[in-house]
Symmetry: C2
DNA sequence: CGTTGACTTGAACATGATCAAGTCAAGTGG
DNA sequence: CCACTTGACTTGATCATGTTCAAGTCAACG
């Protein structure tokens, strides 16, 4: 496993790809330059652990590129993924000394980091950061509650359908890979990670993927390359209202 | 079903029982008086619906007394409870036009309400409210994630044990009803509500309660009067680390 | 060509859901 | 006071969904 690489200010905030969605989104140019003074970049390879539950939290960060997962492990080893961190998402909680969850890169990741103490000091004098953090936290709370609904009440098939439509729609909105009514994308996580996210075993994930394929809801060329011929068909499998929910 | 009763300013903020835990906790006297100008109280009977998913959100509120539940229903009728609202908890999301979840009183409830628009305007000029709201949202997020762990990975017996120890410890901290190592309390919700919270059916809830009773983990005199002879024994059934987690 | 890791498939099993009765205490009306 | 009803809870029998354990496939890589 490689060490994380650190480098300073290799990109200007002004032309950052997450400029208008991240924690800095509503900062004015003055606030932005003060953030810029304390930022530094770090990269992590896929599979590398970014933070360990219980460790001291030295920095908070925005995801710039790649994807990471938030998870917690029970004493006997059962794992539940608690969140998916994608570009513009925020890692860490200001005001907390210790890390509450494990954070692991599931793809190569670039983070825009801020040492925690200076960042906390900056919040107090920069209202736009606190306001933005509130909106982002409330959004995260809605996502978490949507996921509670899924974990508590949905069947394995519905869970898989939800995840696929979530990832599918998200990547479609990024890359605009529409093919008629359908779309295709690369799954950014292993079957194991899918199971950790959905509260299922890897075998159940695999079986339900096969079942959805046999029923013509999805097409697979290689285990992670997914095509959805008709999104409405997939949506009908999620158990949700057909007109679509919140979920990112 | 009775109508909700409305009355204005029957208590002064200064000697309110949730003064130092609610959204107003960090307000100075000036900010507090501006909040006081727009507040009004409403009460709801147990079982009465406070807000309906999808309705326009006319007000936000703090729970002053009693208990309410946050829940969502799937199109086919499956229900999942998403949060338990106790005194000092905040209801509603500033900036949102519509209600995202059903809110229902599970005991008689008193709310300290603020019409949404004036409250939103107040946030912008009252930094302490926004800051407090951020901390409360982050706390709620941690509770929601703890519950995701429970819903996704815990067994029925562990789920019931978690809920009992949660309610038990919470009421103990309020009323200090310790009896040696143990404690006793009244369950504030029906078996049905327990099932909705834990992602279980009412029958499974009942069976696991019986099983815990037969194993001597809990004692029951009447279906809602619970005694816990030894809290460490109950904690050992939760699947969590023995040194206790976050959970409220 | 053998090894490895990710994924799939199968058979047996177990946990919790479903369907159906049954208990029990608190009303309600004769 | 006694039947009758009602609602909340419990219990039992059966079923189904998802888990567990085990083996097998497949592509990538040395």
């Amino acid at each position: 496993m490689n060490l994380a690489r650190t480098s300073s200010n290799f990109a200007s905030c002004a032309d950052c790809n997450i400029r208008n969605r991240a924690v800095c989104a509503t900062c004015d140019s003055d606030e932005l330059s003060r953030l810029e003074d304390i930022k530094y970049y770090r990269t992590f390879d896929a599979g590398q652990q970014i933070m360990f539950q219980g460790d001291e939290m030295h920095f908070v960060a925005s995801v710039v590129t790649g994807a990471a997962k938030l998870s917690r492990t029970l004493p006997d080893g059962r794992i539940q993924m608690l969140g998916l961190l994608l570009p513009s998402d925020f890692i860490g909680r200001p005001g907390r000394e210790h890390v509450a969850y494990d954070v692991e890169a599931i793809q190569d990741v670039t983070l825009c980091c801020f040492r925690r103490k200076p960042f906390e000091a900056l919040i107090d004098v920069t209202p736009h950061i606190g306001q933005r953090l509130l909106v982002m936290s409330l959004d995260e709370l809605e996502v978490a509650r949507e996921w509670m609904m899924l974990l508590g009440r949905k069947t394995a098939r519905e869970k898989i359908s939800c995840l696929l439509s979530l990832i599918g729609r998200r990547t479609a909105s990024l890359h605009l890979q529409h093919v008629g009514d359908g779309l295709s994308f690369e799954m950014p996580m292993s079957r194991e990670a899918m199971g950790e996210y959905l509260g299922l075993t890897i075998e159940t994930v695999s079986r339900q993927m096969t079942a959805l394929r046999k029923d013509g809801v999805i097409e697979m060329t290689g285990s992670r390359t997914i095509a959805i011929p008709d999104l409405t068909v997939l949506m009908a499998e999620t158990g949700d209202d057909t007109d679509g929910g919140v979920l990112y």
